[in-house]
Symmetry: C2
Subunit: 232 residues, 2 copies
DNA sequence: TAGCCTAGTTTTGTATACAATTCATCCTGA
DNA sequence: TCAGGATGAATTGTATACAAAACTAGGCTA
């Protein structure tokens, strides 16, 4: 598959090529992207004026978008004090992983049984995209490729509830992952573990997928905690 | 404990006695309550005028509240066509239970290890409230008591991520539970199963809690599916 | 009579104006 | 010097006005 075709398929899966969206949805997506990409840092205060300039939307639109993102846990609202980007402490991370562990493992298991052959192939392609962006050292691309991988995983497990629950959680930890991946040792380890997961998924081996998922999550959790204790 | 004191503690747990809330939060709560109580039926179209009358809020406020509830999955928005109450088909219910099963079971297990003695006592009180409202045949009170029970469970497991994930899901199936509980045979069965769960939680018996949770969920799932196939 | 078109009404989408609150700054007085 | 408060700017909370799209009903035509 050529690079171009691959990107096209990735965009299709991630829903990046839809054009017709309301102003509110556009604004929402813009703000979300700014947070996930690390342009806004955790705990940062966001004023409506600043966001209005960023998105080009008026305050009515903006405030709807903000209410939406608040409900998703990406923003924190304090009455009369506006919005700040949600911040994660060690405790929140612990809780998130406690939730992810059974849910993501279930998703991997279900994928091995329910995914179409096309999706299995796509998981493989997504993993290769992760590996190649790793080689290139392109962090931005790596995030997108990872999003693609998990998006296919959640689609293939045929359960939108799992998808929704985990997507929310993923949004909130994604900028942490950017920090984390600066640790190149950890990055290499993560790649190996994801490779094991990808292999198990492609082989439709439920038990192996389960084990790989558990291993990967536990190792990611420990690395995050370690990273966090270092930065504090 | 007197009835009065019991209600007081329940209100405290459910956060019903906070007074200072922004108009938006009030409107949000009012609409949410109207949906959960079955006043708005699944699939029903909600016009902004109607909601404005119900909540007394202006459209700005309303639309923020609606965006929030949409993000939580309680409402569906179609561009230029407004909001409708989210509808659940058999497939969605299946997916929800697939997610609930591992998460709620984990919550019960964690509760046995982490809950304070006060919370253990409160779980007991909540279960008694469920049982007594069952005897009285008071559906409204039964829903509140169940909310109380699960609220204590989620608090006691010391994981707000689990709480958030499940609260969303609970909101969306709560009006189904109202329908379901009209089946008095099922209602009796559910009470027995919840009693087993409550006992295990009070005894802090992790394995028993796990088993009771799994049993209860599986049985509730089957009942819901059966009920749903009947009503269609 | 059935189907389609159209005018009018309703509803949603968007922008803006005003009020209330918070925040920053600088001034005063001990 | 500095604690405290007055003042004005900035920001959020709330309401309303106007534009655009969708729905409705009634009449017209085949």
């Amino acid at each position: 598959m050529t690079e171009h075709l691959l990107n096209h398929r990735m965009d299709a899966t991630l829903g990046l090529d839809t054009v017709e969206r309301s102003l509110r949805e556009q604004a929402q997506a813009t703000i979300r992207e700014a947070i996930l990409s690390g342009r806004f840092t955790a705990g940062e205060k966001l004023t409506e004026r600043q966001l209005s300039e960023l998105t080009g939307a008026s305050r009515s639109i903006l405030r709807e978008a903000l209410a939406h993102l608040e409900a998703r846990g990406l923003l924190i609202r304090q009455t009369h004090r506006g919005y700040t980007v949600a911040k994660l402490d060690a405790r929140s991370i612990h809780e998130i992983f406690e939730l992810r562990q059974p849910v993501e493992t279930l998703a991997a298991e279900l994928f091995t049984e329910r995914a179409s052959d096309r999706e299995v192939a796509e998981i493989n392609a997504a993993f290769e995209a992760i590996a190649s962006s790793f080689q290139a050292g392109d962090l931005r691309k790596m995030r997108t490729a990872k999003e693609w991988f998990f998006s296919v995983l959640f689609t293939g497990c045929r359960n939108t509830e799992i998808r929704k629950a985990l997507e929310n959680v993923f949004d909130r930890i994604s900028y942490l992952r950017i920090q984390l991946l600066n640790d190149s040792e950890r990055r290499k380890q993560a790649l190996i573990e994801m490779g094991q997961l990808a292999n198990a998924l492609v082989a439709r081996d439920r038990d192996a997928a389960r084990n790989a998922s558990i291993t990967h999550l536990e190792s990611a959790r420990q690395a995050l905690i370690k990273q966090l204790s270092k930065s504090d």
